[in-house]
Amino acid sequence: MSTARRGLLGGIAALAVSPAPGLVLSASCPDAEAIRLAEGVIEAEAACCAAHDLPTPTEEEEQARQPERDRLMGVVSERAEALAPLPVATLVGVLAKARAALAVATKDATDGEIIVHDYAEWLAYAALEDLVRVAEGEA
């Protein structure tokens, strides 16, 4: 696991996976699909981080595990790219998308900078746009 990916386990991720006090998802929530996708992004990211955390004592083991790591990163990217353009209609949906974006954002612990995949940026800005759209719809 790279230094940057380890950083994901820090403060940003702690916020991203926090529960949603006061917000209860009902079966009829119009954003059920987006929320399901957002949870899928977070799960895939966790699996990806776990794969990068596995010890690889030898160079051969490191190389042998890389294809699986690449596959898991592909899953994260695929799910995030599916979630980003999916418009949400409720604040619960906005929060779900925000959690997913923060889950895939990566903090570089060495210099304090954030290394952000393109799909994380798309998700973050999509959540921002959703927030304004939902606010204007209810104003």
């Binding site: 940003i12 929060l95 954002a105 290394i115 940026e121 304004v132």
Partner: protein, 136 residues
């Protein structure tokens, strides 16, 4: 992959006054300035965010060159104040989100947050939103 500095969101949380966090929760309908009679906890942020697009427009369409003139200085002051502010209500978060969209707006109507303050503000806003989640 791009590299972007995430400016201060988490560190700013610790400095948020507890009294401000106790502000009454707002609905989205209240996220419009002028709808409350008592002073709003994010009144100053909301005002600055509302004025920011005009200041940005003045920079983009003015004849001023460089960063020493009054038009740029007015824009930079507004931009920096928005960045430094920590919203304590949903209305404040929404106001900042609207300012971010103004920063990301292209001449053709599309939006590109990359290489604008909007890229950083988006991450700040997501942290703000989740921080305030218990009050929503």
């Amino acid at each position: 992959m791009s590299r972007r500095t995430l400016l201060g969101g988490l560190a700013a949380l610790a400095a948020t006054p507890a009294a401000a966090l106790m502000a009454p929760p707002l609905t989205y309908a209240e996220a419009t300035p002028g709808r409350r009679s008592s002073p709003h906890p994010d009144a100053e942020l909301i005002r600055i965010c509302a004025e920011h697009p005009a200041r940005l427009q003045a920079v983009n369409h003015g004849s001023e060159e460089g960063e020493d003139g009054p038009i740029w200085q007015a824009y930079a002051q507004s931009r920096d104040a928005i960045h430094a502010a920590v919203p304590v209500t949903l209305a404040g978060v929404v106001a900042k989100a609207r300012a971010a969209k103004a920063e990301a707006l292209n001449a053709d109507g599309t939006e590109s947050p990359n290489d604008t303050p909007a890229g950083t503000w988006a991450w700040e806003l997501l942290n703000d939103l989740l921080r305030l989640e218990g009050q929503l």
